[in-house]
């Protein structure tokens, strides 16, 4: 595929805790193109979440470089990384995604407010995205008043509403029942299909593997397999 969005070259990550050193990633080389719907699979401790954190600018690699749209992420300051995450990355986590004291609308607006999007435009985009994720009418509810599936849909809405280049989803279906998980995956697949939003998942969920167009297998901090699949999603 053309249009390389993300490139990782020789990425290593070592965690230190006193005298103990744990090498979580050992030389990752990976390209991710615009519009991909890819999943990272592998056992616990294989480095999936760490790689996702590095791609999202939540952490910096110990070695190697990561570029997003040609911009090197690895040489950014803390402040630049914040701006980078705000403008280019959307996150969906396994749970506790939403800020419980903000309403659905406020949660979705959050990134746009940081970006300085005018109020009217924010409200229009919130209304449109809520309709798209099937949550119209729940604008004023607070997260604890929503089901787990609804909360994850709000998280997806928040991740895509600011129009990021890449959405990183860390075990997004792990806390959902199979019906809600399937509905959430269908929603993300539709967004990928209709809006060319790029998704990279870290997951153990077979349903995600089944839908992913690319399956990257990690083992002991290395890429063990990288399969592209036609007809998925």
């Amino acid at each position: 595929m053309g249009n390389t969005l993300l490139r990782a070259e020789g990425v290593e990550k070592t965690f230190r805790s006193g005298a103990i050193e744990v090498q979580a990633l050992r030389g990752i080389d990976l390209d991710l193109s615009q519009g991909e719907f890819a999943a990272l699979k592998g056992p616990s401790g294989s480095g999936k979440s760490t790689l996702l954190h590095l791609f999202g600018g939540l952490d910096l690699p110990s070695k190697g470089t990561i570029t997003l749209g040609g911009t090197p992420v690895t040489s950014m300051s803390g402040r630049e990384l914040s701006d980078f995450r705000r403008d280019h990355i959307g996150f969906v986590f396994q749970a506790y995604n939403l800020i419980p004291v903000l309403t659905v609308t406020e949660n979705i607006e959050y990134v746009m407010m940081l970006q300085g999007v005018p109020r009217e435009e924010r409200r229009e985009r919130v209304a449109a995205i809520l309709a798209e994720v099937g949550l119209a009418g729940l604008e004023r509810r607070f997260p604890p008043q929503l089901s787990g599936g609804q909360q994850q849909r709000v998280a997806v809405a928040r991740a895509i509403v600011a129009r990021p280049d890449l959405i990183l989803a860390d075990e997004p279906t792990a806390n959902l029942d199979s019906l809600n998980a399937a509905a959430l995956l269908e929603l993300m697949a539709a967004l990928n299909r209709d809006h060319k939003v790029t998704f990279l998942f870290s997951t153990h969920d077979e349903a995600v593997f089944a839908m992913a167009k690319r399956l990257i297998t990690l083992k002991d901090g290395r890429i063990e397999a990288d399969q592209r699949r036609e007809g998925a999603a």
């Binding site: 939540l58 607006e109 407010m113």
Partner: protein, 415 residues
Amino acid sequence: MPPRFGALRLIFLLALRNVFRHRRRSVLTGMAIGVGLATVIFGDALWLGMFTRMIRGATHTFVGEAQVHREGWRKRRELEAVLTDPAALLQRLGADERVAAFAPRVLGSGMLASPRDLRPVLLVGVDPALEPGVSALHRVLAAGRYLTEEGRSEILLGAKLAEDLEVAVGDKIVVTTARAGSGELVQELFRIGGVVRFGIRQLDEGAAFTTLPNAQGLFGLGEGFHEVALRFREETTALEVMAGYWPTLAGPGNEAVGWPELLPEVRSILELSDFMLWIVVLLLFGIVSVGVMNTLFMSIYERQFEFGVLAALGTSPRSLGLLVMAEGGWLALLSALPGALLGACLGWWYGYVGIDYSGSEFAGVTILELIRPELHPRQFVLYPLALVAITLLASAYPALHVARRPPAETMRRGL
């Protein structure tokens, strides 16, 4: 780049809602802040009320709020050093709008002899009509009656002095003095018209009072006098530094001084008390700030993943720190209002009923009236502002902690 206005608004809104997230904890911390503020406001009001009573006790009992003397008289106390141009001085004082009352006095040493004993005294000549305007002489009679202008050869004795001399109202007593200039001894027989009890040891033990003409006659001063005691319309006048005012008031050759110079021990006690009040304020606010810090740390430890999510969404470290500080700020603001109200209620109630320390002597000053806390706008501006500032300062540490932590670490391990 500072956060955009919309983002700032959101951060402050988020902070406010976070304060109400754990109501019981916020209410308890808020109560500590509020009660701390109320204590400081009430304490200040109480000090202020006590100072006012002390100053009034010191000045209104006998000294006056200010005095005019011949230059140098206060150091040497020479009998001959009477005020220059006394008529013009009294006329000037009578015309001064700031002066509420004044009373001329003669002061000299003498010896009082009763059939049983004799004692050295400070013999004070007063104008019976003007003296009540500046002192409590007419109000502290323990027996007998106050001096009258016609009361030739009448004298008032301090209560302890009368006891020592073993005399009572109506008894006769011999006063011996030296005349100004010649030093010639003069003796005169007086009848005790009354006994006074100021509650001030020096006066009760060693002072006797007669009319101004009697004292002028005994000391051979003619129309002269040594001192004019003053009371101002505004109590603060005696405290004001008015370079031009005092010399104009006193006139050439004389000097006017306010009570802080006349009663340096009272001034020192007040300064020390002021300093102690600030120590108490600092201690209380220090305790409150540690409480706030603890609450904020508990709160951020519970929300560690949430801070990671906020960082993941693009919230800058500075904005995360601001969020924590805003939570501290809201906590202080929301607690300051009821705290100030509680302080006002306490101040008002005790101002209404008063606190009875009357009769006790403090730094040589007898407190004559009930102590009533005095509320002042300064207490409701300065202390709440200081409280908010100290709370913000206390929030800075947890804020820095949050801002400095890398987001991935926060999500992986917690703060």
